[in-house]
Symmetry: none
Subunit: 225 residues, 2 copies
DNA sequence: GTAAATTTTAAGCTTCATCTCAGGCTGCTT
DNA sequence: AAGCAGCCTGAGATGAAGCTTAAAATTTAC
């Protein structure tokens, strides 16, 4: 899950980035409306978090431009103003939800989940064969036996399973899981695929991740085409 | 935490169910007073949410019957009427709290939490393995031997145990235990985890708090997954 | 007002997740 | 069948995350 935060206050931006990364989101930051809009339009984010009062281009304008470009990405706006007009204004501009500052991190997370829920539901539940993964608690179960994964291992497995029965290209994986946008000749993916396969094998879920030579990887739901 | 919602309007019922499930509650639904009462009496719910105006048996009657059967389960009633008499009437019938429609989901959540907190206190059911903690008296027992904790140590342990078998992220811990919303670079948590581990170890409850590197901590109920 | 207890900060140390690299293997292509 | 590109995997470097301790700051108790 890849998020973009457009926020000019470094303190809040940093806090959000840290907290959300702990929740396994890949987080990008923009410190003003203009660069934020650029990033939002050039990359494929799962959600935008936009402060209302930002330099260069207001949050509301960013929101309008994003919608004008045809993107349906969920937008959550942060606002210090809490008047009804402001909220209505924001939602009219194309935002999906808003949250008043100061806010509880918990509440923000809940609202992010609500926005991402539609997406998740469409992708079916997070399981493949006897493997079940729970993003809320960061736990993975193979049948009844728990598998402990490191954050990166978990992120990779989650991405593959969210895209179950679809081929995940190396470039998409590197973008969504590692948050790397430029072409690079790294072999981290290979290494982490090996790590995952080893742990899955040990838990009796071998052969779940298949290689598509020259393209990437795929996790197939057994018994489906 | 298991909830029962008795509500005839499918829209509201569905909205509540979805929202509450996202908050990790297990939610059952009943669409009229009669079946709702049956379910309430046959299952062991942690809380009931009851609309006042429902078919087959009014909310107030459900409430009375539940109490008559000797159950002390917290009941939160939903009402469109907001006159004082109504509230008094409801509370007299055995309800613990009420909320007026239309309501904010957040407010409902807050009120649910209040009711469940009271329940936890009364139940005195906070334990993990041979460790028992009593929030009312601020005492902690490892088997029969009492452990003395400072207030912060206690708060941290209580939070971890209330969220037993779930990973507690650093941000959540810092929010719930320290009530800090915008500080990411402190090592208080580490220090207090060390304090707790040392005291637990001395009391024979070693290895209760496990580290999930890059994420946070977890207390597991031994013998469970 | 002082002493004790508690909480927090800071710093050195340890462990482990992450990533790079190199050599080996696999399976396409010709 | 040989060559080659893509993939796998073990070993090791790096650096960040967490652990521990000591001491400073703050609160509480007497």
């Amino acid at each position: 899950m890849r998020l973009l935060i457009i926020e000019d206050e470094p303190g809040i931006a940093g806090f959000l980035k840290d907290g959300l990364e702990e929740e396994y989101f890949a987080v990008d930051l923009a410190y003003d409306g203009k660069s934020g809009l650029d990033m939002a339009l050039t990359n494929d984010y799962d959600l935008l978090i936009v402060d209302w009062m930002i330099p260069a281009l207001s949050g509301i304008e960013v929101c309008r431009q994003v919608r004008k470009a045809g993107s349906l990405v969920p937008i959550l706006f942060l606002t210090a103003k809490d008047t009804l007009e402001d909220v209505v204004f924001g939602l009219d501009a194309g935002a999906n939800d808003y949250i008043k500052k100061p806010f509880e991190f918990e509440e923000l997370l809940a609202r992010i989940r609500v926005q991402l829920r539609a997406k998740n539901k469409a992708d079916d539940s997070l399981s493949a064969g006897s493997l079940n993964i729970n993003p809320a608690t960061h736990q993975v179960f193979a049948g009844s036996c728990e598998i402990t994964l490191t954050p990166k291992e978990f992120a990779l497995l989650e991405y593959l399973i969210r895209n179950k029965d679809r081929v995940c290209t190396r470039s998409r994986i590197i973008e969504h899981v590692w948050d790397i946008h430029f072409d690079s000749d790294t072999s981290v993916i290979d290494v982490y695929i090996t790590f995952l396969r080893r742990k899955l094998e040990a838990a009796g879920c071998g052969n779940l991740i298949q290689t598509i030579r020259g393209v990437g990887y795929i996790v197939r739901e057994p018994g489906m085409l």
